[in-house]
């Protein structure tokens, strides 16, 4: 059974998260454009990681193909953006998110009826199917991928000034837009977690047979969670396509899916806050490993995969419950010493 960490966050963690939010709000004013962009990317990955946490941490479904839905929304944006001009954010975002959700609904229909290791393998295989669909077809961009030459426009008819200050081409605006998306997703998922729907998903993680015996339509709940997670991954993918202006099949590859699992684990799963922390930590580590200096004749940064691999192996061997898990252990130890 997969245990979730700290569904109800203690006040100390809430305080840390609040300070993190303040820091995020202030960040663009103290940083360089390079780091603003980097943190935007981290926030996008945080949305992606939270969407996976709904499956992995809450429902207990380990999907190794979650990147497919992330990539699909990015592709949707690329297809919807016409040659030579921008397309409106207001309808392409819902369409892209819906497309990802729909794909997750179809794949989930097959995947959700399997359990445990089968589910891992099946989600991975289907994601790979999507990967090859795009990789092999020149019409869908092929192995080179597609460019999103224009960031989605935010113009609203009859309100011309709006688009001039809410311009996603501006790095700072995109940063705050992503931050808003992150917050909305977080609040939505936290509310969901304690709603009857979320409680049912939690129950499925803890004991699926018992939930079925109590009369819950487990298949429907799992499929709904899978589709919803796919749609939210689509939100992240859409933002990724907007930010990077470039989409390729690698975004749907299984390294991406495994990175998302890693983020959720790293932070601590089942409470969405951990997924955010994990995404930031993971992306930062990736940045650090790729940026390692030349040491003598050896370029350490070139071998970032080795460091990442070693880090993952060491983490899962020694601290399988992630950063928040360590924090929780620390709190418990402190609590015990007071008694």
């Amino acid at each position: 059974m997969i245990q979730a960490n700290l569904e109800v966050l203690p006040r100390s963690i809430k305080l840390v998260l609040g300070m993190g939010l303040v820091a995020l709000l202030a960040f663009p004013f103290v940083s360089t454009p390079y780091y603003t962009e980097m943190v935007t990317r981290m926030m996008i990955m945080a949305i992606f990681a939270m969407s996976l946490d709904l499956l992995q941490g809450v429902t207990g479904l380990v999907s190794l193909g979650h990147a497919a839905y992330f990539g699909l929304a990015g592709y949707a944006l690329a297809f919807l953006t016409p040659q030579g001009q921008a397309v409106s954010l207001w309808w392409t975002l819902p369409v892209a998110v819906l497309a990802s959700g729909l794909a997750a609904l179809v794949i989930g229909f097959f995947a959700v009826r399997t359990h445990g290791i089968y589910f891992i393998m099946v989600t991975m295989a289907f994601a790979q199917m999507v990967f090859y669909l795009f990789f092999d077809n020149k019409a869908l961009g092929g192995s080179d991928g597609l460019y999103v030459n224009f960031k989605p426009s935010t113009a609203i008819m009859g309100w011309p000034t709006f688009a001039s200050w809410f311009d996603l081409d501006n790095k700072r605006v995109l940063y705050y837009f992503t931050l808003a998306a992150l917050l909305v997703t977080y609040v939505f998922l936290r509310r969901l977690l304690f709603s009857p729907f979320g409680r049912t998903l939690s129950g499925i993680r803890v004991n699926e047979h018992r939930m079925r015996a109590m009369g819950y339509g487990v298949f429907g709940y799992k499929l709904a969670a899978f589709s919803l997670a796919g749609a939210l991954a689509g939100l992240a993918g859409y933002l990724w396509g907007t930010q990077s202006g470039y989409i390729n099949p690698e975004l749907m590859g299984f390294h991406m899916s495994a990175h998302a699992i890693m983020m959720v684990i790293l932070g601590g799963m089942g409470n969405f806050a951990g997924a955010i922390v994990g995404a930031f930590a993971f992306e930062y580590l990736l940045h650090v490993f790729k940026d390692l200096p030349q040491l003598g004749s050896v370029n350490l940064g070139k071998h970032w995969q080795l460091w990442m691999g070693l880090f993952i192996v060491l983490l899962v061997t020694f601290a399988p419950r992630g950063i928040l898990g360590l924090f929780e252990k620390f709190l418990k130890r402190k609590g015990a010493s007071h008694e």
Binding site: F110, G116, M124, L133, Q305
Partner: protein, 287 residues
Amino acid sequence: MDFPQFLIQLLNSVQYGLLLFMLAAGLTLIFGIMGVVNLAHGSFYMLGAYLAWSLSAALGSLTLAILGGAVLSVVFGLALEWLLFRHFYKRDHLDQVLLTFGLIYIFEELRSIIWGDDVHGVPIPALLSASIPLTDNMSYPVYRLFMSGVCIALALGLYLLISKTRLGMKIRAGAFNRDMAESLGINIKLIHATVFALGVGLAAVAGMIAAPIASVYPNMGSQVLIMCFVVVVIGGIGSVRGALIAALLVGLVDTFGKVLLPSMAGMLVYMLMAAVLLWKPEGLFKA
């Protein structure tokens, strides 16, 4: 499609299926007996191919390279099992996924450091480099027949090992009920190490015999890994017989798909998997 062409495709599909079986058998055994999801299984295939390339260049003979490489990969498997995998048999699948994903990164980077990032070819041994003419302009390479032969021999050996020997009996007992087997005096740790090394060895040998026709290149393990997952899912996890039938089925669908429906070829195998899942969510042969 006329008959010679059909025959060539059929032989190709059988050869591909048998190769997949070599990998999937190890994967399915390691899961069935130790309960470990091994994403790094494709890396063992890659390891085999690179060993075949460097050893055949050093020793001057592919046969010697395959024998030496098989020993090396089994030793490697034993070391890996002792160092890492043994501690993960009772852990959550999620932890196993992460461990083996981390290992993929490590193996890929070590491969890049030791052998570089170039694509290499391994020459077909002179003895097997002939082709059997089928028509005026079509022929079938002997080496591919040799590959199928090796795979069939190993599959047969595996079958005999598992169903007819004392070791096989212990393996089956361990898979059926670990605690019971242990209390009957079977050294289950030794059995686990043996099975793991056997899986690594099979995957590496598959990589070694495939090296002359598939060439040797970075990331060659990932693609084959996913095909193996499909095979294992279709066949039923833990079932070696299921893996054999599923591998042949996947070989057929993939090879003929590429000829008959080239635009859909990449998807067909997955559609097959989806169809099997609808019909039998636990695979064709539930272990």
